[in-house]
């Protein structure tokens, strides 16, 4: 009877996922037709959920500064625009971003833990998290050890996330599963559960550094994992699809998924984010089109 008293999560027994059923559900959700006022509301909502991101080896303080200015002043021609949720950069550029966004409510998010592969020793990865926080990061985006996950060492993956969260304290921790490397929806569900149980505030699909970023079926599985977790624990975990979401139509489809799977409570930047760089401009173009009636040209929207 002792064994029963020790409540060790068994990550080998997470719920199974039927891939075809997931695809069908997605295509049914995609048949929603979002028009008129509900479309404008959705476009603006999407804008407010963006983590405006630059994660390049060639990033410089100048580049990050420009991105932050853009985050604060998306467009002078449209009234009632929300600002984006955060700017997401490498740890070495956190300080620059933080300074630029001072006195705004826009957060600075930093990737850490040996992003994007995570292939360095854990101590170093934790050190990087401490550094990012020290530099002023409000949010930390970590990567999980996919190699360990795929070799079945789920407990280690769990422990690493838990220890990272411990270092983060109140700083929001987003856990990147890098879904394209996990291969199956069953694995994605399992990784989502490990991350949530280990203390993730958000689960995030991708680094944006592999050939496939977020997809709707993957996101649907993660949203369902969040819902199931909420029903068991009453704890609301956030979701962040990242990589490859660059147009308004796709963004609205994501919002429809969030609305119909998790409900309106999740339709807020505190629980849903887009990791994207070019999405913002497309949303601005669409908002302008909705308000003016005319299709827009990219030349009218700043590229920062």
């Amino acid at each position: 009877m002792k064994a029963n008293q020790i409540n060790i999560a068994n990550f080998r027994q997470t719920p199974v996922i039927d891939q075809v059923g997931v695809n069908e559900r997605v295509s049914r959700l995609n048949s929603r037709s979002i028009k008129k006022t509900s479309k404008i509301a959705a476009l603006k909502l999407a804008l407010s959920m963006i983590d405006l991101t630059t994660l390049e080896g060639m990033d410089t303080p100048g580049k990050v500064q420009q991105l932050c200015i853009k985050a604060k002043h998306l467009n002078h021609g449209i009234s009632d625009l929300p600002h984006v949720a955060a700017v997401c950069v490498y740890p070495s550029l956190v300080k620059i971003a933080k300074k630029e966004l001072n006195e705004t409510s826009i957060n600075v998010a930093s990737v850490a833990t040996g992003f994007p592969s995570g292939q360095t020793n854990f101590k170093t990865r934790l050190e990087e998290v401490r550094y990012a926080i020290c530099e002023g990061a409000d949010e930390v985006d970590m990567v999980i050890s996919r190699g360990k996950f795929l070799s079945g060492d789920f407990q280690l993956v769990f422990d690493e996330i838990a220890q990272t969260k411990e270092v983060c304290g109140n700083i929001h921790l987003k856990v990147i599963l890098e879904t394209s490397e996990l291969s199956t929806l069953d694995n994605i569900r399992r990784a989502s559960e490990i991350a949530m149980k280990a203390g993730a505030d958000f689960i995030k699909t991708s680094t944006g550094k592999t050939k496939c970023g977020a997809t709707q079926p993957i996101s649907l599985v993660m949203l369902e994992a969040i819902k199931d977790f909420y029903q068991k624990t009453n704890k609301k975990i956030g979701m962040k699809p990242a990589g490859g979401i660059s147009d308004s139509k796709t963004a609205i489809r994501y919002l429809v998924m969030v609305k119909e799977i998790l409900g309106n409570e999740w339709l807020t930047p505190t629980l849903f984010r887009f990791g994207a760089s070019s999405l913002a401009n497309d949303l601005l173009m669409q908002i302008t089109k909705q308000q003016s009636g005319a299709y827009q040209s990219a030349d009218y929207f700043s590229k920062d």
Binding site: V16, I17, D18, V20, G21, S31, K36, L255, E260, N264
Partner: protein, 484 residues
Amino acid sequence: MTNQTDFITGYSPAPESTNLIEIKERYPLFIKGKFSEPQSGKYFSTINPATEKKLSEVAVANQADVDFAVKSARNAYKNVWSKMPPKERSKYIYRIARVLQERGREFAVIESMDGGKPIRESRDIDIPLAVAHFFYYAGWADKLEYAFPGRKANGLGVAGQIIPWNFPLLMAAWKIAPALACGNTVVLKPAETTPLTAMKLAELLQDIDLPPGVVNIITGAGDTGIKIVDHPDINKIAFTGSTDVGKIIQKSLAGTQKKYTLELGGKAAHIIFDDAAINQAVEGIINGIFFNQGHVCCAGSRLYVQECVAEEVISKLKDRMDTLIIGDPLDKNTDIGAINSKMQLKKIIEITQSGKDEGGVLFQSKCTTPKSGYWFKPTLISNVAQSSRVVQEEIFGPVLAVQTFRTVDEVIEKANNTPYGLSGGVWTDKGAKIFKITKQMRAGILWANTFNKFDPTSPFGGFKESGMGREGGIHGLYPYVELS
């Protein structure tokens, strides 16, 4: 819902345009390639069940009209269709498929207006599947010698076909396509509440120059139907509808030489095991019972959930039911449209009430329903048993009866404990269990880890009192040929 709906409170109305469609004030009978006034001199109205407004009038075919239609079909069979080289027949059927595909949206809109089904379904399911059926059987016309090992196939002659109101155009396609491919000519009668897409199909058949008399479409109620069934110069009857009417038809065909196929009612068991992909299973249950307002003979209307996951499944099911959007069938976001007719609504209300009276516990979606028109909220009834009326009788509406089970053998026994045998569903992650259960369930179509899927290549039809004969696939050719 106001036009100021923001995304959070709901979706703004997104109605499909009705500008493209034309519905005439009245439709006479389509016989011998022409629209001709009924000899009965009578017409009846067809209404939009979502608004109760009249859409058009269609003719009542009496005995003389049926005779005329059969005669025209017989002549077309003798003089044209049976003599035509099969590959030419084939090309006519391809023409139907192609033009129907081109005009798909128009047919979808009319289907939704006349029958109440959501445009999402008529546009994405009914019409494309109807097109696919014509396309599939067109290709069979000149290949029949490969379909029946050791035998030669010949057409039967005139086929009398009586179709239901739940999938009006799709059922017309299921009937007409294989009949024509096998060299038969047709007298088709659509259901009295949903005749319009059949009449539009008649116009289309004129447009593609199908030889006069090869397909005749006549309208009327059950009275006209029985005149077709009893007509001495018809060689084959194909009927889709209720088991009660099917039995009457089978009885009146007793002792005749007519071949017949019957696609009748159902009360499908839908089984969920604890090792299933639960979230997808829940979606499967939703599609199983709420597709087309539950007006589906193969609807998964008897849910069996393994006891250890019952609480979870039912709670998820209720959550999902609350996200279903009920309302204007022409709105692209509508999940649940109008009940097809006042009569059907009355029946659904009556049986559901009996479920309540017998102690069943009702749960209904939170949605609000429009003021005019015929509506019924998605409904789940628990606290029922095999003996409950809602478990035994086909409701043909959006009403799901839920029971729990413990073991494989128990659930197979319960699943088969019905005179029906059209379809069934099972959800489990274990392959061996799927094969054990699908093998032992006595039904014609079994969906494992999916539900309510249809395809022209896949035979459809029931065991036991759910009918006989198959429609679709290679097996769907048998009812329309004589083998020698």
